[in-house]
């Protein structure tokens, strides 16, 4: 399954939006946090996990989903949320802790929930997986159609929840796809220090489902493999496990000194940045011009700048709002 011209341009545009979004958040996050870095300061306090470099995973998978399909994401959710069609204005406002945010500014960047497009997050590692399996079960039992996709990091694949979820999804042939974004690191712990096998797709065999490994952080390859896995789930043939080799171009979270990275690793990753690579591919394959590119980049930036202006201009929630909606 090869992506059409429109699908490729959609993926590319989502990647541009996502990258510029992260770059913008990165700048704003640092406001008020220098010279002394204090996480509690600035217009966006708390932890901030950016997804720069991991955009291909989001777009290659979400290209096959519509608003009705379910996605559970992680503590590093922005790229996936954008590709899933989460309302960018309200997501940005949520990150800023504003009243107009998706959760009224109470949840922040790790708790992006948009029921309109069936998108949710778990800041607790691997714990988006059980709910994805449950969502798939719900669709299966109610014969409602649709699939669920659980995103996770390679570090999460050593949580019990990962193994429990894979097992049950396979036993009950649920319409769910598990997507591991393997960025080689769980904070400071290298994959090789936490996982005895090189590739997590090998684990699929143990649970009785197909497993695929996609090297090279390549959106086109991801599109193909994810397309088949999602189609298989839609046909009622059960789950698939996909591991994608991807690159974390930022620190684990903002303020991470990244002392654990071997020398030169970051430079090597930047040399493989998927966005210029995709641009070159488009130029070579569909006659994409610099003028086309400038136009799309401007559109992507406009969207993000608009969302940030919306967030900045929005009011903070009233203190009393924190007390609402605990019970019905």
């Amino acid at each position: 399954m090869k992506p059409s011209r429109e699908q490729q341009l959609w993926m590319y545009e989502q990647m541009l939006v996502s990258r510029y979004f992260e770059e913008s958040i990165e700048k704003i996050y640092m406001e008020g946090k220098s010279p002394a870095f204090n996480m509690a300061n600035g217009p966006i306090p708390g932890e901030m996990h950016l997804s720069n470099g991991q955009e291909p995973c989001a777009v290659g998978v979400c290209a096959h989903l519509d608003a009705d399909d379910v996605v559970t994401s992680t503590h590093r959710p922005h790229h996936v949320a954008i590709a899933k069609g989460v309302d960018l204005d309200r997501m940005t406002a949520e990150i800023f802790g504003k009243k107009t945010g998706l959760s009224g500014g109470r949840g922040g960047h790790m708790h992006i929930f948009d029921a309109d497009v069936n998108f949710s997050c778990s800041g607790i590692i691997a714990q988006g997986m059980g709910p994805a399996v449950g969502a798939a079960l719900s669709r299966q039992l109610q014969r409602k159609g649709g699939v669920a996709v659980a995103f996770l990091g390679e570090g999460a694949a050593n949580q019990g929840a990962f193994h429990e979820s894979l097992n049950l999804a396979a036993v009950w042939k649920l319409p769910v796809v598990f997507v591991i974004e393997d960025n080689a690191w769980g904070i400071s712990v290298a994959k090789s220090a936490s996982t005895a096998i090189e590739r997590n797709d090998q684990r699929a065999a143990a649970y009785g489902m197909p497993g695929h490994f996609i090297p090279g952080n390549d959106p086109l390859a991801i599109f193909e493999v994810a397309g088949e896995a999602i189609a298989r789930a839609r046909r009622g043939e059960g789950p698939t496990l996909i591991e994608i080799e991807t690159y974390r171009l930022a620190g684990h979270f903002m303020g991470d000194a990244e002392g654990y990275r071997p020398e030169g690793e970051k430079d090597a990753l930047f040399a493989k940045d998927p966005i210029p690579k995709f641009r070159n591919h488009l130029k070579a394959s569909i006659g994409w011009t610099d003028a086309d590119d400038a136009e799309l980049v401007a559109r992507a930036h406009g969207l993000v700048d608009g969302a940030i202006a919306f967030a900045r201009d929005s009011a903070y929630p009233e203190p009393e709002e924190a007390l609402e909606k605990v019970f019905v």
Binding site: M39, G46, M110, A193, A322
Partner: protein, 327 residues
């Protein structure tokens, strides 16, 4: 003379001290080795003691707690870090289901000495799991000690005591005051007693009871009230399970009034347990109802709302005034 250090440095100092004194002490947790912990509590310990004493585990909290139980059963003393208290719930499987009851279950033949450390509480304006105070869930468990320091020196002494202790200990570190102030801490290896409150300030008019990061708000309130001529006794509970009710009761017997201050939501929290116990044992000594200044019964809200959520010294002063005016 000893250097003035922060609470997180005092934790590091105590860990290093315990590891040099007893080779059975082994640290484990996520990102604690090479990276020195996300809050830097274990910084340099891997370099000093090697990768057999400081273990970077995979990301798997149930297993971390299970390892600690098994290590205890076979003669090691695990001091495990849970990166944030919000990620601690999977450990309850082992801590509540096994560690806390092993002594009782085996009629004292076995015990389960281990320490689970976790940063907890508000103060970095992070959402939910990264800011909550769920100590009451654990203080409810018979056999599990719950200890919370409120200063660098108490962090040092109490952590040494926790590591020495033959019972399982949950050691909660208030991240808001990890770096809030410095205090000289002598690295003398002397533990502080578990199971006793610390009376930080003596007074006659009212007893203020608190723990963790709320101690500094409480002490500030006591300072300001002193200017108005109100003499506050301030007690740092420090060990939330088992509770040192004798110290608290003696104080309340003297003052006749009591305000309890904590940042956890009010309902079903440790403040409720203290108030109920003091009332049971000291009702006739009380001249006003025991007041509680606490967090709200809601999910810890993000960012701007955190300041509204967290009790502060002004809230404490209000509660003290109301208690004094009662009769």
């Amino acid at each position: 003379m000893s250097n003035a250090i922060t609470m997180v440095e005092a934790v590091n100092l105590a860990l290093g001290r315990a590891m040099s004194q007893d080779e059975k002490v082994v640290l484990l947790g996520e990102d604690i080795g090479t990276n020195g912990g996300v809050f830097r509590a274990t910084v340099d310990l891997k370099a000093k003691f090697g990768n057999k004493r400081v273990l970077d585990t995979p990301l798997a909290e149930t297993m971390i707690a299970g390892l600690a139980v098994g290590m205890a059963a076979q003669g090691l003393k695990a001091v495990a870090e849970i990166q944030f208290m919000g990620f601690i719930f999977p450990t309850m499987e082992h801590i509540v289901g096994h560690a806390a009851r092993l002594r009782n279950r085996t009629r004292g033949r076995l015990s389960c000495p281990l320490v689970l450390r976790a940063p907890y509480g508000g103060g970095i304006h992070a959402p939910e799991h990264h800011s909550e105070s769920t100590e009451a869930l654990f203080a409810h468990i018979p056999g599990l000690r719950v200890v919370i320091p409120s200063s660098p020196a108490r962090a040092y002494g109490l952590l040494l005591a926790a590591i020495d202790c033959p019972d399982p200990v949950l050691f909660l570190e208030p991240k808001r005051i990890y770096r809030a102030s410095k205090q000289p801490v002598e690295d003398n290896g002397v533990p502080l007693p578990l199971d006793t409150c610390f009376t930080l300030r003596e007074g006659d008019d009212i007893t203020l009871i608190s723990w963790g990061a709320m101690i500094s708000e409480t002490l500030q309130a006591a300072d300001r009230l002193a200017d108005e001529g109100v003499s506050c006794e301030v007690i740092d509970v420090a060990t939330l399970n088992p509770l040192d009710l004798d110290t608290m009761l003696a104080s309340v017997t003297k003052t006749g009034r009591c305000v309890i201050v904590h940042e956890a939501p009010k309902s079903g929290a440790v403040g409720a347990e203290i108030a109920a116990s003091l009332s049971e044992r000291g009702l006739l000594e009380l001249r006003a109802p025991i007041a509680r200044v606490a967090g709200y019964d809601t999910v810890m809200p993000y960012y701007r709302l955190e300041n509204h959520y967290m009790p502060n010294s002004a809230d404490v002063i209000d509660a003290v005034r109301q208690t004094l005016e009662f009769a």
